[in-house]
């Protein structure tokens, strides 16, 4: 039996896939996007968040069976309401064995894998294969810029993206629109080019930057250093996608 570290299990998450869903947030992420709004999901280990209402330990280990049991108790409701379970993070690929084991223990329920795409090929294949739908983040296409803003190379991400066709897994490409970083016409055009030929692409979703992103850093004992001007106007540009014949939504 595998165990994993989860920092939240949240019900009725409306923007994490179809129908009524429950989302599992896996703790720990190999990326360090400067705009990350879930800083408590970055470190793998449980940590204490401090706030005026008291300290709270975030993240706890679950045995796969224990988590599957909690989710199974509501699986019937999720399934009969067009929904299911979403695995998000943090980064689920970083705990792929655990996540796969949880999914295998669930009764037939719709699974969404919400991933940055950054992870080993085996991990990605293991989880994508078990998912009914993949939410695949695409942030910055230029490799150097990607490294600068997320701390990692984007080559593994693009390799995993290319696997979706062979896996025949439908996916939604999700683009966080970060002012001056990801929202440039050049970057959006490159993203459109990267997904346009993907046969299983469902649509692209643009997620406008949320000014609340830095809200939880102090409680995590971190400093929010976005490295870009949060106040500059956002370039919510759908044309690169539309002109490539791609369905695009602004969330």
């Amino acid at each position: 039996m595998t165990s994993g570290i989860v920092f939240d299990v949240r019900e009725f998450t409306l923007h994490d896939g179809p129908g009524i869903r429950t989302t599992v947030f896996l703790k720990g992420c190999p990326l360090a996007c400067t705009w990350c709004h879930n800083p408590e999901g970055l470190d793998t280990a449980p940590q204490v968040m401090r706030s005026p209402t008291g300290d709270r330990t975030v993240g706890r280990p679950y045995e796969a069976a224990e988590l599957a049991e909690i989710l199974s108790r509501q699986a019937g409701i999720l399934a009969s309401n067009e929904g299911g379970v979403t695995f998000s993070g943090g980064e689920p690929l970083a705990q792929a064995t655990f996540v796969a084991e949880v999914i295998d223990l669930l009764p037939g329920v719709h699974i969404v894998l919400d991933t940055s795409g950054y992870g080993g090929k085996d991990a990605f294949v293991a989880l994508a294969r078990r998912a009914d739908l993949v939410f695949f983040d695409l942030k910055v296409m230029d490799p150097l810029a990607h490294r600068r803003w997320t701390g990692q190379d984007n080559a593994p991400i693009l390799r995993n993206l290319a696997l979706l066709a062979d896996l025949r897994r439908p996916f939604v490409a999700r683009v966080p629109l970060v002012p001056g970083v990801t929202d440039t016409n050049e970057n959006l055009t490159a993203i459109a080019a990267a997904v346009a030929s993907q046969p299983t692409l469902v649509r692209v979703e643009l997620l406008p930057y949320n000014r609340a992103a830095g809200g939880k850093y102090a409680a995590c004992g971190r400093t929010f250093l976005p490295g870009f001007d949060e106040d500059q106007p956002l370039n919510v540009e759908v044309r690169p996608f539309r002109s490539a014949g791609i369905e695009v939504r602004v969330a």
């Binding site: 299990v9 949240r10 019900e11 009725f12 998450t13 409306l14 923007h15 129908g19 009524i20 429950t22 108790r73 509501q74 409701i77 999720l78 009969s80 309401n81 067009e82 929904g83």
Partner: protein
């Protein structure tokens, strides 16, 4: 909402119509004493004199008229005489019939002249039998009918004088005769309803408006006298008018006035009752966006999703309604408690959440609360001090619940209603039998609410887990910590609060105790035998008790016990959850597990209502897809077999700002317990509680 309606709405919110209020109302005691009037005749005289004192107000853009100009309700006895009259009796909330629903269908369908004929026929019959009491009642009732007809006549005359032909011709016909049109039905209802308020009654519900008004709308639509837009405009004007005098209506806080409407559900014969007026009423309340009328929607697990989406769109407005009731559960529960099946199908929702029968009910749905936390706390403290087993602690909790139910019910053996001749005109069978509704109504049961079950179950579950199963908390240590309000015992408090099963997480290890508490409450209610064959109906609401049972009621004596620190790690004074809601501060996963926790209750045994109460951030409602998901969630609530649901859309930032800058948020409406009110008009402790609930919902 066209310009005329926007204008009416703005004038209503601005208090424009208050300019017509008279500085003084009539004084009745001297007159009543001089004429040595009986109590029923005094109450009729009250209605009559107030109708006579009303000054006619018709503004140029009104199609549905009546503006209250007499702001006070005078006494009919001197204080001493009233005390002598009522000595040793229990007067519920002042003693005037309240929190019931009239038989509006019959009142409209017969018209006041029709009701008058019934009264006269019964009077003739009673005269033959020499029944003086019945004659007294019927004469009083007839006096009130004549008073309302005279008031309507004065309105008609003034409308004629102003050359408002449409208004005049309506008022020359209703409420004397049965309405011929939708417009006439709404005008009749406005006047009949307003005079109930005028007569001093409170929590005056409007019941199943979409049922009893629909025939008039249907025939107008069929005859092409009216199109949907024109009908919506009339309905909107009627709804706006309900907000005109509401500052005069007594309640715990402004907004707590019980002007509820119950939509949808089943007919008395058991057919689906949703009709185009059901949809229209939801649309119009959404567009009007005022706190009255408060909407209840009866649904089942099979209710059309589109209707639930429309209702969710109304929730999105942040008015705190609709509140949902699940027919699949409510009707069998009422039937199991002695309500005839056709009456059970005809239920409406009282001021807050209790299920009552229009025209036939004279239930007192809220005689008080049972404090589950106090019952569990007494049992835990005594049991741990005695070295009792956990089962023995449960048995003591049960005994304490029985004791509280009995204490609350006893005074109601001496319940006394003031005569209500006018309200009786509007009730089923009162004129026909010659008996005032307060004495003759078919259903005269009492309702009691089991409050704060989550906190009690949490406390019991924490004791079971830590004292009896793990053995990591010593009874003496826990007792000392409770006595010290956990000061110096923070580690223990955290263990109890954070490392115990909690209601709202769908954990059998505590949800079984919630069910048990309500089963025991139902047993305790069944054991009561109030006079006159009434029953005591157990419920799941809390009303204001979620604060009062935790902190007392600011200087006002409270019959219910106030509890200190509790074994769930709650400190003295911390509030409980409102109605069926997890204890504030519980780390929840979300609303699905909350529904599942509360789905364990055997709702056939608790028929007095009391909703699962959930706050959702208003960001949840931002697009059509999300609206659909909320609608699915509401349907899931019904399919799980839960009884009643109150969803509130809250925006935390706006609430916080409204507390600091009320002038910028005059229109902000929130649901407080069973009713909605303007946030800026709430007392600070209620504002704080609403804000705290939101913060906890957003975690």
């Amino acid at each position: 909402m066209n310009e005329r309606l926007e204008n009416l709405r703005a004038r209503t919110r601005d208090g424009h119509f208050r300019r017509y209020r008279q500085a003084h109302g009539p004084d009745l005691v001297a007159e009543c004493d001089r004429e040595r009037l009986s109590w029923p005749r005094r109450m009729a005289r009250l209605t009559r004199r107030l109708c006579e004192a009303e000054q006619v107000v018709i503004e140029p853009d009104e199609l549905i008229v009546f503006t209250r100009t007499v702001a006070t309700v005078p006494a009919v006895y001197s204080a001493e005489a009233e005390a002598a009259l009522t000595v040793g009796r229990t007067l519920h909330e002042g003693g005037l019939i309240n929190n019931v629903c009239a038989d509006w269908e019959t009142a409209l369908g017969q018209g006041l002249l029709g009701r008058r004929r019934v009264a006269c026929e019964t009077r003739a019959r009673m005269a033959l039998g020499g029944n003086a009491e019945a004659i007294e009642f019927l004469d009083a009732a007839i006096e009130t009918i004549d008073a309302v007809l005279a008031l309507a006549g004065r309105y008609a005359t003034e409308a004629r004088r102003l050359d408002k032909v449409d208004v005049a011709s309506v008022l020359e016909h209703v409420p004397a005769k049965p309405p011929r049109t939708f417009h006439e039905a709404l005008q009749a209802l406005r006047l009949l309803h307003a005079v109930v308020w005028l007569s001093g009654h409170h929590h005056v519900g409007l019941g199943r408006l979409d049922q009893y008004v629909w025939p008039y709308l249907a025939s107008d639509l069929e005859a092409r006298k009216l199109d949907i837009a024109a009908a919506e405009e009339l309905l909107a004007e009627f709804f706006i008018a309900l907000n005109r005098d509401s500052d005069l209506y007594p309640g715990i806080q402004q907004g707590d006035n019980g002007q509820t409407i119950t939509l949808g559900g089943l007919t008395r014969e058991g057919r689906a009752a949703v009709n185009p007026l059901t949809w229209m009423a939801l649309r119009v309340t959404r567009d009007v966006g005022l706190i009255d009328p408060k909407i209840n929607l009866r649904i089942t697990g099979e209710t059309e999703l589109a209707l639930l989406e429309l209702a969710t769109d109304l929730t999105r407005k942040g008015l705190g309604f609709p509140q949902y009731a699940n027919d699949d559960v409510v009707i069998p529960a009422l039937a199991a408690h002695g309500y005839a099946l056709e009456d059970a199908r005809d239920y409406t929702v009282a001021a807050c959440w209790e299920f009552i029968i229009p025209g036939r009910g004279m239930d007192v749905p809220n005689i008080g609360a049972v404090s589950f936390p106090a019952a569990a706390d007494a049992a835990i403290r005594e049991g741990l001090a005695d070295g009792a087993s956990f089962d023995a602690i449960l048995a003591r909790t049960d005994a304490e619940v029985r004791r509280q139910v009995h204490e609350r019910a006893i005074p109601y053996d001496r319940l006394l209603w003031a005569p209500a001749p006018y309200y009786s005109v509007l009730m089923t069978g009162a004129l026909e039998a010659g008996v005032d509704h307060g004495q003759g109504a078919r259903y005269r049961n009492l309702g009691i609410h089991g409050a704060a079950a989550a906190s009690a179950a949490d406390a019991l579950a924490a004791v079971r887990r830590h004292v009896f199963e793990l053995g990591d908390v010593h009874p003496a240590e826990l007792l000392a910590a409770l006595d010290a309000d956990f000061v110096g015992h923070e580690g223990l408090r955290r263990r109890l609060a954070d490392e115990s099963p909690r209601v709202g997480l769908n954990e059998a290890a505590v949800d079984d105790l919630v069910r048990l508490l309500y089963d025991r409450l139902a047993d305790a209610c069944e054991a009561e035998e109030p006079q006159s064959g009434a029953i005591v109906r157990p419920g799941t609401g809390s009303a204001m008790y979620y604060l009062w049972l935790a902190r007392g009621r600011d200087g006002v004596p409270l019959a219910e016990p106030v509890v200190g620190a509790t074994a769930d790690g709650r400190r003295r004074g911390d509030p409980f959850g409102a109605n069926l809601a997890p204890t504030p501060g519980t780390r929840l996963r979300g609303p699905i597990s909350v529904l599942q926790s509360y789905a364990t209750i055997d709702y056939r045994r608790v028929c007095n209502g009391g909703p699962i109460t959930l706050e959702l951030s208003d960001s949840v409602f931002r697009d059509g897809e999300s609206i659909r998901k909320v609608a699915l969630f509401v349907r899931a609530f019904a399919r799980l077999g839960c009884q009643q649901l109150q969803l509130n859309a809250l925006n935390g930032e706006r609430l916080g700002d409204a507390k600091v800058h009320p002038e910028n948020h005059r229109d902000l409406i929130v649901r407080v317990w069973g009713w909605s009110g303007y946030f800026c008009e709430l007392a600070p402790e209620y504002q704080d509680h609403v804000i705290a609930r939101h913060l906890y919902a957003a975690v």
